[in-house]
Symmetry: C2
């Protein structure tokens, strides 16, 4: 029985949510729908387009809801994710990391033929030449954003002469269509000081605006300026530089993003809609219970999960190895027993989603649907 | 195109290994075969049985090779893993974590009917009663090991009267077959001091031996005493308590296990056979390159990967977010360029394997086969 089938018999059954076989990835649909609507409204209000990042959810059902709410299309981080979501019916995709190998570029061209709109990024003159040759061989046109490094050094060219030269190369009459620039400041999204986050973002955007102005002066005006994330969603529009936001995590939120806004007078602009549900499988010691969710059920790069429901007040979750979690709690009022169900806020949503084959979509205590995570594991 | 298909055209092509679309999980078959043979020989020499833990590899092809080399059967940590490997033809499985819910127990009974041999563990009188009822309803017999806690508090009963009482309950004439005890000291496997590892393991085994003697005296002699891991594989047999070893990681090894033996005068008893292959996708800064393998390509619970091949001497790998890795290196002799291929030793093998759909099995520079990881993601 595949993972998607384990809980299918519970769909539509009252109380089904509590009976899920676990560990299970759960979406509270009411909350997720509010998050999607809120970001769409934010973008409309600020007259900026939205191209949400699907590296977070990797799921066509969610991508479709984002596009129905007004998104231009979606982003993926990887070619494999784009292929999986294209096969599931998503027709406009920006791949936000460079595709550089011959074998990857061949797949890119096949995808370009399949989609209504494919946009890729490039930060290398050599790769741009290869993309152009490959598109020429197939007699097609490939839309390219030149990737600009906002200072984190991950991908992109510094916003200087090298960037201008690559824009010129891409914009030359050839089989590449110069569509604009990408500039994603991933390093700023989780800064917990609101002032630092604001100042750093506006400074990165100001540098980008100077590059844009230099390109405008050369007749190379970028139509698209794509970037931004959940952490700077309400800062980037003020800079009036980006034409579109790539935010992804806002659909789900997680412990890490909640903590960005966890300070006096602030609260997260989006609500937590994603949870891992886990079950107590052993409880032989006072104040300690063992659950069925460890390193294979949560990504661990951002610390431990937070228990949202099911445990006594003040209980804390720790990783108890590959397959188990531990819950330490004060047992003076209530004990945890074998079979008890816990609901956890995940430390970091994107890599946790990547561990699961499907979402269990709930409203209240009802399991409403099970959605496949088509792009799970499609890192190549 | 599914992940298993991406590189299938390279099977049997000279140099195919270097052209894999990445990130890709790679097994060096020569090395893995030596590891499997070495552990099988070790078990024979010490007259102890082997029931290797498949939570590490989650793959029927590897399980079959372990059984051909003499293993009694395999272990899985979860019911879902057992189902996946049973469907792929593995016929003797010990599930090493308690299965406690009614829905889980129903699946357990179906699996019991399917397999030549299924063994489960139990550490709760209430769950034992439920297992018995469920087996009785189906007119079947279920083999049970009583799980003993070696002091880490994860699962199992302390080796005292409570454990004896549960053995008596399971051994009563009923629909459970009392098959023995499990005692796995997961907390000792990675102790880096050889003396401490030895003393702690022998001490845990000595406590287990006392429980065994107490059970023998009551006519409840455990036929099976199952436990041990890669870290204590050469200590446990000396204690003459366990009847079988559950080691798993020895097939692959990883940075964490290599470090257990990384001291003067010692070397790891098994060789590293598992790697993640990754490709440089951006290289615009001096001494810094960006690869295509980040948090979604390596489990991060045990730190960063170690680069085994492809980078200048002394280069170090760091996580550069969900989808990318960073390589810092001294560029005075050689520069890394877009398209360069790196081979990395993974920090922790089990949860890293759980991120991939398939193994790319190589000998030298030849891709020999692609094996599905059937139990990947089957945590429920």
């Amino acid at each position: 029985m595949r993972a998607e089938e384990l809980n299918r018999d519970l769909i539509g059954i009252p109380g089904g949510r509590q009976r899920l076989q676990t560990p299970a990835l759960v979406i509270d649909l009411d909350v997720m729908e509010r998050n999607i609507a809120r970001m769409a409204e934010h973008a409309r209000t600020h007259n900026i387009a939205l191209r949400p990042h699907a590296k977070t959810h990797k799921c066509s059902e969610i991508a479709k809801r984002q596009m129905q709410a007004g998104a231009l299309g979606i982003c993926t981080a990887k070619l494999g994710e784009a292929e999986a979501l294209a096969d599931a019916g998503i027709d406009s995709i920006l791949i936000t990391s460079p595709v550089v190998t011959d074998r990857g570029i061949a797949r890119l061209m096949a995808l370009n033929a399949q989609l209504r709109e494919l946009i890729v990024v490039c930060d290398s003159a050599e790769v741009a030449a290869r993309l152009n040759r490959s598109a020429a061989e197939r007699g097609m046109l490939l839309k390219v954003l030149v990737d600009i490094d906002p200072g984190m050094g991950r991908t992109g060219l510094a916003p200087n002469d090298a960037a201008v030269a690559l824009v010129q190369q891409v914009a030359n009459p050839n089989h590449l269509e110069y569509a604009g620039l990408q500039c994603y400041a991933g390093n700023l999204q989780h800064l917990e000081s609101p002032n630092e986050r604001r100042d750093s973002s506006l400074s990165a955007m100001s540098t980008l605006a100077q590059l844009r102005d230099a390109l405008n002066a050369r007749g190379l005006a970028p139509k698209i300026l794509s970037g931004g994330g959940t952490g700077t969603f309400d800062i980037d529009p003020d800079a009036r530089t980006l034409t579109e936001l790539q935010a992804g995590s806002y659909v789900f939120m997680d412990r890490q993003y909640n903590e960005v806004w966890q300070k006096p007078g602030e609260r997260p602009p989006f609500e937590t809609s994603l949870f891992v549900q886990t079950t107590v499988i052993s409880a032989n010691r006072d104040g300690l219970a063992t659950s069925d969710a460890g390193f294979k059920a949560f990504a661990t790069d951002a610390g431990a999960p937070r228990i949202a429901h099911g445990a006594p007040e003040g209980a804390s979750y720790f990783f108890f190895g590959d397959e188990q979690g531990g819950v330490r709690y004060d047992s003076s009022n209530r004990e945890l027993n074998v079979g008890d169900v816990l609901t956890c806020i995940v430390p970091h949503c994107d890599p946790t989603v990547n561990l699961y084959d499907c979402y269990h979509c709930v409203r209240g205590d009802m399991l409403e649907a099970i959605w496949p995570i088509e792009a799970r594991g499609r890192a190549a």
